[in-house]
Amino acid sequence: MTEKTVLPEVKVTPSRYRNPIGKYVVRRSAQCISCGKCAELCPYGVHLRYEGYSQPVRPLDYKCVGPKCQANDFYCVKNCPQQALSVAVNPIIETLGDYRWPAEMILGHWYMAETGELPYIDLEYSLGYSGGGFDKMRFRIPDPKDYLDIPDEEIDTSICLNKRQDGRPERVLSLPCYSGGMSFGSTALPVLVARARAAGKLDTLTCTGEGGYPDAFVPYKDNIITQVATGLFGVREETIQRAPVVEFKYAQGAKPGLGGHLLGDKVTAEVAKIRETVVGSSLFSPFPFHSVYSVEDHKKHLDWIKEINPRALVSVKVSTPTDCDMVAVGSYYAGTNIIHFDGKYGGTGAAPDISKKNIAMPIEYAIPKVHRFLLNEGVRDELCFMASGGIRNAVDVAKAIALGADGAVIGTAELVALECIRCGNCESGRGCARSIATTDPELGCEIGEEWAEQRLVNMYTAWRKQWCEILRRYGMRSIRELVGRSDLLVHLDYLDEEERQEYQPTPKKKLVL
């Protein structure tokens, strides 16, 4: 690879809130005489001091590395002449996060979104407490001889969406990711537009979800997938014609076998207008497509899209039933360019809890199953296989690729970059209190497009650094070499006790949900 990857510029983009939450708390007592010693010493910028400002400023404790800093000469607590400072683990951590997205993973992603760097604080941002699947897989210890000492710019993280050589464009994305469908109605418009803008900067794609195509998307149309879901909201000839990729959403991992849910509270006048429905009335999309009861019907749908837009690639998004391998091959013969499997533990704006937990299988099982089946069928090379649903961080993406996917579709992590705290209150009332998944006239305007765009660019920049490091370790120059390399993965439950000791153990913690 001679061409160097040019990355968009990283700009430090701090939290929207006054008191960002950190792993550690730094308390400054009334003993402080505002001498400024701590500000002088701390290399992380925890302590601030402005010239001519006599009052002590509250520490930015989310930047603190915690009590282990005491080994350093610059440890503020030790150096404070008044003993006014104390550092401890923030007890709020216990209340934050869950098994899939523990507090440290959320905080780690906030840090990446702020700085574009991987956290220097001891945050475990790549593994959760779920105790299975990705959380039990590790990359095999590499042979040091394989290490490829090349800079990130020379590593290729691009993927090609069209491998069929069907005369349609061979769209290449610079990252092995694009962002998942979020509808206008479930998510605030500035967030959606920011996602599109970030996708433009990163040379990747975002997706409209099933809520129609707001006019604000038009300037970014080259980076926006039009989704055709069972509700067919906002699906028009022009929205198909302007899309580089058209995605058929058959099912969603969080609510497989059920149509989309948009509860009445979020159906505001604008949402109702674009979906051509009634304000305040809940929208439950049907399931399945009532015009598709066979693979032949499915092909008819794909042909129809291809006819309307001869330059569009077609993606088929399905969930993970027992026969996911058959679904994949059926879609291949129907003519899809991208097959997208959305697994069990994926995100959603609203879904019944019973379906999130119980219906369909986790993506970790579906990827190798589909990959192997497509290989045996001899068609793997002609399909772009995207995985999603519980792929939370850069290492999960790499694991999914090693299991057999070409890339991953990301939803929740992007929202976490925009300071989603995963409280799960997206579905009703005014929607998200943090202004992300809301259509409330007041809350929905609290996020700036530029801020959100930059946070996303920063997060993906940090992710890319992780991917490059993994590739370098195995002597790979391109992420495409990683596809299906499940020999590079180990699963802790499949190792002998002795061998298991060599790998990072599964983080364990009993949480109160």
């Binding site: 869950d98 009861y293 019944p352 209190a433 949900l513």
Partner: protein, 470 residues
Amino acid sequence: MPKKYAIHPRVADPRFPPVGKYATVEFREDCAGSCRLCVKKRCVYGIFKDNFLHWSTMTEPEYLYICKSCYRCVEECTKGIFSMAVNPEYRTMGDDYFTPNIISSTWAQAHTGKIPVSGAGYRGPFVGEGFDAIWTDMSEIVRPTRDGIHGREYINTTVELSRRPVKLEFKEDMSLASEPAPILEIPLPIVFQEPEFGILSETVRLAMAEAAGELGSLMFVKAENYSPQIAEYAGSLIPRLTAANYQSYADLIRASCMVELADGPGIEKTFADLRSIKPGLFTSVGLPLDAEAAARALELARTGVDTIHFYGSEKGREVGAGKPRYLKDMIREIHLKLVENRIRPEVNLIFSGGVILAEHVAKSLICGADAVAIDTPLLVALECRLCYRCKDGKSCPVKLGEVERGWAAQRITNLMCAWHNQLLEVMGAFGIREARRMRGEVGRSMWFDDLERDSFAPLFGTRKVSGIGM
């Protein structure tokens, strides 16, 4: 087509503030006390609206029953004095099986009758013990149509508790040779039984019976617990009798459509006696879900009993075993034993003990049950906190014994409405429109062990840890 079955929920407000997960912690010494930008005034959910003016008089820490955990107060307070903790009372509710979030979610369902819907992905562990190691299947594109709960095609959850004839016999003129046996149907695969603990006052029992009647379902009640008032609901109740005492309850037997006898030697001889008291009486036999259950079920199935009712432990396990197996495995064992002996379609199996979530109903049916019987969730619907103080004779924090009957019956009805709708969600995704067709349909479910073997073993070799590896 039968009339569509619908349960009518009505909001039944809690009598006591439900215990919430979060508590705020404020470091008040740093608070200015009269900040114009106080985050309490600006809470998106308005949860502080009753007390933000009088912070000096509030108790500390303050438990936020309705806090939605958006953390905006924590992150926006001008002085940074807020923090959040897990409410210690919440933490102590229930146990490792009936966890605080299951209790909380049961309360919400009993309150509104709505199914729990939330945003963001699943928050729990990858896999769990027992039923949590099963995922149900869904249909993608190439299977018959259905519209979930919101569409046009009716999903029928009716199951039978009466014995099924294996064949019909005809006379030469093609008319039936004998009258077909009567059928006992319930419109949802859930029956009630009296909880093993809790303050089971007369009102509480009456409310449970009333709800069972309202739903068209049935409730198992020990014959000795009948009172004249409870007897008025006899049509919705199944008295639990023993071979020793049934003769003293002849009136009760006549008033009931089905009775249950506790299993014992020679029990089959009593069925004829019971039917002589009331011809056409449906019979059930209750027995512990233990190591002998499968063998005994086969013997009983051959006696002509309509239904066999297995009592598992309250945490959904085998009883009387050193290493008790899970309910799912027990159901499989018993179901398959009867299938192998070609008698399964004739008899009905009810399982109880540890069925505390709507998904347990669906998964029990998939494993091979015809119906489940529930107990503890009935108490939780009435705001029980599973503090188990009543077991020690102490007072109940929610005064369970003093509930108003109509309210209590409505709470239980609401809970069942939510469960029924969740069952429909699972069946809709499944692509099955008949609860009876779910019975034993394991091919449409995915089990942890199978998935690991099919997907992971070809990549990673042999699994070296037992169980789910947690």
